[in-house]
Structures are given as C-alpha cells and as structure tokens.
C-alpha cells in the first residue's frame, strides 16, 4: 500500500466534504463521522486509496461526507460491492458502512458471507436498533415487544445479537464500540484497520428521533462505569465505578462478582481475543444482569480471501503462462483452405 511520509500527514479537515450533512441534529451519526474523520489521518495512507461503500439508511449516507472515494449503493448490498472492489484492488482500504436494518435484515446474507470469506474490508454497523430513514419501524435488533409505527402492539420477534452473528460467521475481527465514546471508538477503528481480514465493528448509535436513549444507561456519566465492560486483551474483566466488580467463569457460565467480597482479581477471567469460546460467552452478556462488553471480542489472523485468490492466479501463471492463442486453439482443430 502506498504510504505517506510524515511531511504529507493529513488532518481531519482533509476528509471533510463540501456536502451539507443532513442527519437530524443530535444524531449519533455525527459523532461517528467525527471519529472516523479523526482516525483517517492516522492510517498514513493517501486519501485516494480509501473507499467508503454503504447501503441505504441514515447511516449509509456516510460516504457523501467523507472526502475519499465513495459509493452509496443499494439496500443491504454494500458487502458484496466492497468484496468485488477489494478482491480486484487489494491495495485500497475499503470500508463498509451499514445499519442494523441494512446489514442484518435485507443484507444479512451478504454480511455473514463477507465475514466468513475474510475479505479485508472493514465493516462498521451503526446499530440504533431502529429503522431511521424510513421513519421509525422496529429493526432486527429492536428488543422484543418494541412498540413502533409498524408494531403498535409490540414486536413479536426476538432480536439478533450482531456480535454473536459475526462470531458465528467466523469473522476474524469482532468488536463493539459506542458513538459517544470518542477515544474508545477511535482506538477500535484503528485496530479494525490494522487487522488483516474482515473486521466487524458494531457501533451503538443513538437515533434521537425514533429510538432516543436506547443506550442511555451505557452512555450516561452516572451509570456507564457500572454498565460498560471494557475488554482488553490480557487483562482481567473488571468494571464498576470503583473498579470493584469483575467477571468470573464458573461451571461454564460467566458471573458477576464483587472484588474483595466474593472473589479476588486472580479469580477473574482474563480476556483473550483468540479464544472463540470466550468471545461467544462475552457476546451474550447484556443488561440488566450484566454489563455490556465493548472493545475487541475476537481478533485472529488467517489468510484473506483475496490473498488466496491472488496466490491461485500466480500459481496458474507460473504453471501456464497466459497464451490467448493457445486458449482459443484448445481441443481438436481442422483447417479449411
């Protein structure tokens, strides 16, 4: 990849477009946009090598606001389009922007297949647990019983857990962050970028118009220390305002313990991003009984789809140098004079 020298270091402003941003005032998408624009210069690659590809939804308007190459495509299909681009142009840094409806409803199939293939694209799923653009129907991540315009009696279906889906699809990088956690979000985005392979980042995002406060207990100053569990590789799972609570594994189940009362630090689970079983257990932790984990659930490496395909092309070329004439002349020939 083309790398920029220090003299050419870009700034956040270089990634801002001249388009008016049209999200509702107060929408969590603004905060995400700001963090992404802040992180881009850190990648150290020229703007022209960065591509943002989205589907349809409020969140999917994102590419219009990034001064990079961009493609606002159709509902749910961005992972497929991004795959085709990245496979043929591996030197590009390709980012997918999707929503909980775009990525998990209409585009659920493309999402899981992109994850299993391990094409080196970065997928940011803005989860506001609602359909924003179509004005407030429940989404596949809305809690069961959700009352919306399309579910006046409450939704009857149970929600998806995006992290568990990504893990189930064998994604090599799975993380969660929050729109307003600026530093955490930046760090997570950088980690996603540095990961080689598909990176899946669920970003909890507030839709202040149709689902305001969906994550307020996670973001309010007073509660967040008790409701967030920040995952760090190699560190014990500790949380709480006074860092006095932790997570222990007992009989195959995770439990919350009070440090100094039920347990000591050495009893706690130490986070291991390479442990698929642990990642899945952590993906199940949710309010009200548990804090919500944020950070990297899983990060493992395996060859990417495009590396494997390029390898096959190289092998084919070394075995049989391309010869168009010979290709056309395959099989039995005869001559008429």
């Amino acid at each position: 990849m083309n790398v920029l020298g220090p003299a050419q270091k870009l700034t956040r402003k270089d990634f801002v477009t001249d388009q008016d941003v049209r999200w509702c005032p107060g929408c969590g998408d603004y905060a995400i946009l700001a963090q992404v624009q802040k992180v881009m210069p850190e990648l150290g690659i020229p703007r022209e090598n960065i591509v943002f590809i989205s589907g349809i939804g409020c969140s999917s308007r994102f590419p219009y606001y990034m001064n990079t190459y961009g493609f606002h495509s159709i509902h749910g299909r961005a992972p497929a389009i991004a795959s085709g681009l990245k496979i043929t142009r591996p030197e590009l840094s390709v980012w997918v922007i999707t929503g909980d409806g775009d990525g998990l409803s209409i585009g659920g199939n493309h999402l899981i297949h992109a994850l299993r293939r391990n094409v080196d694209v970065k997928i940011l799923l803005f989860n506001n647990r609602i359909y924003g653009l179509t004005k407030g129907q429940y989404s596949p991540t809305s809690e069961q019983g959700k009352v919306t315009k399309s579910t006046p009696y409450g939704s009857a279906d149970y929600p998806f857990n995006p992290i568990a889906i990504a893990l189930g699809a064998q994604a090599t990088f799975v993380a969660r962050s929050i729109d307003v956690e600026a530093k955490h979000l930046q760090d997570t985005l950088l980690r996603a970028y540095r990961h080689k392979g598909t990176a899946f980042v669920e970003i909890l995002q507030n839709c202040n118009i149709f689902n305001d406060g969906a994550f307020s207990s996670l973001t309010e100053k007073e509660t967040k220390a008790d409701t967030q569990l920040v995952l760090e590789h190699g560190k014990p799972l500790i949380f709480g305002k006074n860092r006095d609570k932790g997570i222990r594994l007992r009989d195959g189940k995770l439990q919350v313990v009070e440090l100094g009362q039920d347990a000591t630090e050495s009893d706690l689970v130490v986070h291991d991003e390479t442990d698929a079983g642990l990642a899945f257990l952590l993906s199940q932790l949710a309010a009200p009984d548990f804090p919500t984990p944020i950070g990297v659930f899983r990060a493992v490496t395996r060859p990417t789809y495009e590396e494997i395909v390029r390898g096959q092309i190289q092998t084919a070329k070394s075995r049989r140098p391309p010869d168009l004439d010979a290709l056309l002349r395959q099989g039995d020939l005869w001559t008429v004079s």
Binding site: A80, G84, H110
Partner: protein, 622 residues
C-alpha cells in the same frame, strides 16, 4: 475448397459407401448411459471430418431420474452436412435408442424408413414395463416403417472387456462408446479424436482409458464386419470459409469472448456469479482460466454476484455476471444501480423455460421484455442477443466494448439452446480483433463525475486510487454535472432524458441492417437470438422455391438498428417467430406502427424449419 477429412481408423473398405448430403442423428438413452458424451464426441468427429454441423442436447433437469423411465431419457441430436446448415435438423435420419424408454420418447421424430439402432437386450420385460410398453416393439411389428437394427450393444461391450477384471457396472458404462463406434463406422467418421479424448478424460484411470478405447474400436469393427449393415454412408466435407476451425458451444464462446475482451482492454476480468442452469458452465470455464487474470467469485446469491461485479467495475475491472431467468429477477435492482452510477457491466441471461423455476434445462426466449423494461422507473439498458453458438464470442466482445465506451450495463440474452448447442467456429485472428479502449481519467482539471463526453454522453471512468479525483457515486438522483445528490425537479427530468439519449445514441454503432434475400417483397421474417438458424433455413428453402421472402435478424435489441423500421416497411408482411408469446413483435408494433405478426412456440425446444416454412406459406397465401 476444403482439405480431405482425417483418415478413418480402419482402412479395409469392404462395404460400399452411399453418399448423403446431410444426416440428422440422435443418440438417446438413460441419463446414466452417457448419451451426451456420445453425442458430443460424434459431433467432434464430424467437425474434424469437415462437415458443417449443428447440435441440440436435450436432457432432463434431474441429475439421475430413476433408470429406465421416460423421465430419465437424455438425448443429443447432431445434424452434419456437406453444405452450410443452420439447425440441428427437424426429423431424424438415424435414432440410436439405448432402451425402450428412449425409443418411446424419440421414435416419433424418426423419418419413415429411417435407421433405428437399438440395444436389443435392454428390451426386456422390466424395461418395457417401465417405459409403458405392453408388448415388445421389436417383435410386434409396430416399427415396420423403419429400418430396425437390433444390436447386442451391452453384450458385445461385455464380451469386448471379458478379459479385464473391471466390475460389471463399469463395463456396462462403456457401452455408449460401442454405440458411438458403430455409428462412427456407419458414417465413416474418424475415431481418433474420440480415442484422444478418452485418453485425456480418464487420464488418472489407465484401465478405463483402455476399456473405453477398446469398446469404441469394437463398435467400429462391428459395423464393418457384421452382416447387419450392407453399406456405410458418406457425408463429404462442407465448403466452409477458409480458416482454422474448432467446435464451440455458446457458453464456451461467451467465456472465451470475455477473456479476449479483457485482454484486449488490458484489464483483469471479474465474474460474479451464482450457479444456475444453463449458465453455470461459463463460471466453470472461467474459473479454470486464472492465468489470464480472471477472477471468478461464486457469490452467496445472484444479488451478491452482480454486486461484486459492480464493485469490481468501480475499481476498473472488466466486470461480468452470468445467470438465467430466476437470477435475472434478483439482479434487477443492481442493474438499475449500474444505470444510475453509470459503470460498465455485462449481464448474461442464459434464458430457460419459465416462469419461476420453469424448465431449467430447456430453452426459451421469453426474458426479452424483462431485459428491456423489467426495472423500476426509466431504466435504459443495452440489450444484445447472439444468433448462434459461435456468435456468442463476438457478442461478448461487443458487449464489453459498448459497456466501457458508454459506461453502461449491457445485457446479453443467450438461451439454453445456444448455451449447450455446438457448431464449427472459425478461429478469429487475434491481432485483427480491435483493441478495446479503456481510459481512466486522471486529470483533475475541470473534472466532474458526471461531465459527459459530448459525442457518446458517457461520463468519465475514474477509479479509486486516482489522486485528486476523489468523488462519491450512488443511486440517489444526481445533479447533472457535479454528481452531487439532487432532488431538483427539472434536473431529474434532464438526467432521465440524458440517460435515455445516451443509450439511444448507441444505434450509431450498429451497422446497416442486413437483409438476407431481396430488399423488398411480400414477406420478411424478422428474428432475434437463437431462432436465427431455423428462420434462415426456412427462408432459404422458400427462396429456392421462388417465393418472395427475406430474412432480417437483429442482434441489437436496445437500441434497435436505426434503419430497422424503414427496412421492414419495404415488405408487405412481417412475420416474427419467437420462442415466447410475442415479445419482439410487441416492440416492433409499438415502435414502428407496423402490423407485424408473431409465430410463437413455447415448448422448451427450438423451432423446426418446417414449422416456420408452414407459416411462411400461409402468410404468402393470405
């Protein structure tokens, strides 16, 4: 002028040779009997013997329907001739029926006094019952109007291989080569090409190479030495245009055409596809050609197949997606996205019988209106259709050329008959094929994403990675020059009209319409796609009889050739045969206010020459 055919394998010419100018033969048997292989190899032998030919494979959708049943019958028809031919032939001169079910399903197509070769032992009680015969047709006189040759194909195969330790099942599987050997002798075809094919096909199993080759030879010798046949037939080479030839199916021709197009454009080829009959062979073929910078992406569905292709087009690849009717339905939304973002993309629809799953292995051409109109809003797309299997090669090149020059999706409408049918193909001279010009804009001065070329109305192709030209595209309506999102009423109309004008303008690339026959007259038969062959055959016959009939074939269905209306008006009547309920005819009537009439057949099978001839006569009488 043509070279003599390759020498036949066996030289002692004992029996007399009877000359024929063309022969139509069909191999029919159980799907497990290897009839497709026998037919393909016979085709190959005939091609090498210098004949013109045309084939029609016809197989069931089920991989292995219960053995011996009517549903499990698979057939392969070849027409080979010492003159130019256009169809696989209407009625059969020769039928090879490997069991009673194959006989029952096919004997109706055999001409009176036609040659019928059957595998005698297969006409046992059990097989007769499965085929619904109450008595044995070989014995009850019901086949009296044919020349019946009962041959112990299974038994003779077993005898040939009795000194091997191959299991009986394996031995039995060789019997198609006995039948092929026998028929090869009957028509004096060289069997070396088949010997060679067997050697490479079973490369890893030398015992099978030997067994199949021996059985093939045994069948050939049997023809010459047994008392059964008094004479063999000879079909002299056809006078084809000078050149080097090979046999090719429509699907192979498309695959090769795309590889050549991408090389000519100097770009990688990307195919995004999801398996579906009868299109999958294009995916298979391209997947094996990686050394030509071919990327094949077997997607999770047809939407992802075309989506990935569009992503690759955004990145500057020659992008193709292949499918059949049901997959076309799924691709509609992405085709529209390509219309809106104006990126080059080739979509191949290998049409099959429908609606829904329909007749997966049978041919039809009923997706024309879907290709033209089957998307929301005003969605102009280029639509091309190849006329013959070999024409698929040229269509692939032309589609890529148009797509990149006009920054547009191009739909190719092939069909099951072209896809699997084969014909001799004169190899093109690669140097003489035009280069395909791909220019990526790199100059930032005066650049706008929707700045159009004044001539083609095409927007510049700028690929990610180009410094200073970062821009965003998408499916929302765009301001006409900047490409910024715009909901302005007048701008929208302007964009709708310019997209339409861009595609309509491609008509300037289409050569003047060729009229085969007199340029005015009583009747013109207008066709598109694979009906070319039977229409041409029927029109030539009518012309030979002194009738005032011409043939016009369109390869460009959108835009239509600009002189088409004027050409059609020179004839008193216009007949449009189609394998649908009348789709092109509807377009012609609405486009030109011409009272064209349709001839429609929707049986999963191509037209027979006679069916078109009959209609021509009726039209001329009325």
């Amino acid at each position: 002028m043509s070279v003599p055919p390759a020498e036949p394998a066996v030289k002692q010419q004992v029996k007399p040779r009877v000359e024929r100018d063309h022969v139509v033969i069909r191999f029919a048997g159980d799907s497990g009997d290897g009839m497709q292989v026998a037919g393909m190899q016979f085709t190959n032998e005939s091609a090498i013997a210098g004949n013109d030919l045309s084939t029609l494979p016809d197989f069931p959708a089920e991989i292995r329907a219960p053995a011996g049943t009517l549903a499990g019958v698979s057939g392969f028809q070849v027409n080979f001739a010492s003159h130019e031919i256009f169809t696989p032939g209407d009625d059969l001169d020769v039928l090879v029926a490997m069991n009673p079910a194959a006989l029952k399903m096919n004997v109706g197509d055999l001409k009176p006094n036609g040659i019928l070769i059957v595998d005698r032992e297969q006409f046992n009680e059990q097989n007769l019952r499965k085929a619904g015969y109450e008595s044995n047709p070989l014995e009850d006189g019901s086949l009296a109007k044919y020349q019946v040759y009962p041959v112990d194909i299974s038994k003779l195969t077993a005898l040939t291989l009795r000194d091997t330790n191959l299991p009986a099942r394996t031995v039995n599987r060789c019997k198609n080569f006995f039948a092929l050997g026998l028929v090869s002798w009957l028509f004096q075809r060289p069997i070396e090409p088949t010997q060679k094919w067997i050697a490479s096909r079973f490369q890893k199993r030398p015992e099978l190479v030997e067994a199949n080759q021996r059985v093939l030879q045994a069948g050939y010798h049997f023809g010459e030495t047994s008392e059964l046949f008094a004479s063999a037939f000879e079909v002299k080479p056809a006078r084809l245009e000078p050149g080097t030839y090979r046999n090719i199916t429509g699907n192979s021709a498309l695959a090769l055409g795309f590889v050549v197009a991408a090389r000519k454009a100097g770009r990688p080829l990307f195919l995004g596809s999801y398996p579906i009959t009868p299109a999958s062979d294009i995916l298979h073929e391209l997947a094996a050609l990686k050394e030509f910078d071919v990327y094949t992406f077997q997607a999770e569905d047809e939407i992802a197949g075309i989506g990935a292709a569009l992503g690759a087009a955004f990145g500057g690849a020659i992008a193709v997606t292949t499918t059949s009717g049901p997959g076309m339905c799924l691709k509609a939304e992405t085709i529209n996205l390509a219309v809106s973002v104006e990126l080059p993309l080739v979509i191949c629809d290998i049409q099959r019988g429908g609606p829904s799953t329909g007749l997966p292995t049978k041919t039809e051409q009923a997706d024309l209106l879907m290709a033209l109109y089957g998307r929301n809003s005003e969605s102009p797309v280029v639509v091309l259709a190849p006329a013959t299997p070999a024409d698929c090669f040229s269509i692939a090149l032309e589609a890529v050329q148009i797509a990149v020059k006009y920054m547009t999706p191009v739909i190719i409408l092939s069909d099951g008959y072209l896809a699997n049918g084969a014909e001799p193909w004169r190899l093109p001279n690669l140097e003489e094929l035009p280069d395909i010009r791909v220019e990526f804009r790199t100059d930032p001065r005066g650049y706008y994403p929707y700045l159009r070329d004044p001539m083609t109305l095409s927007r510049p192709w700028v690929i990610p990675g180009t410094p200073g030209l970062e821009h965003r595209i998408g499916g929302l309506e765009k301001e006409h020059l900047t490409g910024n999102v715009s909901y302005a009423p007048v701008n929208h109309e302007q964009m709708v009209r310019v997209r339409a004008r861009k595609i309509a303008g491609i008509a300037r690339e289409i050569p003047p319409t060729k009229i085969i026959g007199p340029s005015t007259g009583d009747l013109v038969v207008l066709g598109w796609g694979s009906t070319y062959g039977p229409i041409e055959a029927a029109v030539r016959k009518a012309q030979a009889e002194g009738k005032s009939v011409s043939h016009v074939h369109v390869r460009h269905l959108n835009p239509l050739p600009s002189d088409l209306g004027e050409v059609l008006r020179r004839f008193r009547k216009v007949l449009v045969p189609e394998m649908n309920l009348g789709q092109l005819v509807r377009v012609i009537r609405s486009e030109y206010l011409i009272d064209a009439v349709g001839l429609n057949k929707i049986q999963g099978l191509p037209f027979k020459e006679a069916e078109i001839s009959r209609r021509i006569e009726q039209m001329l009488e009325g």
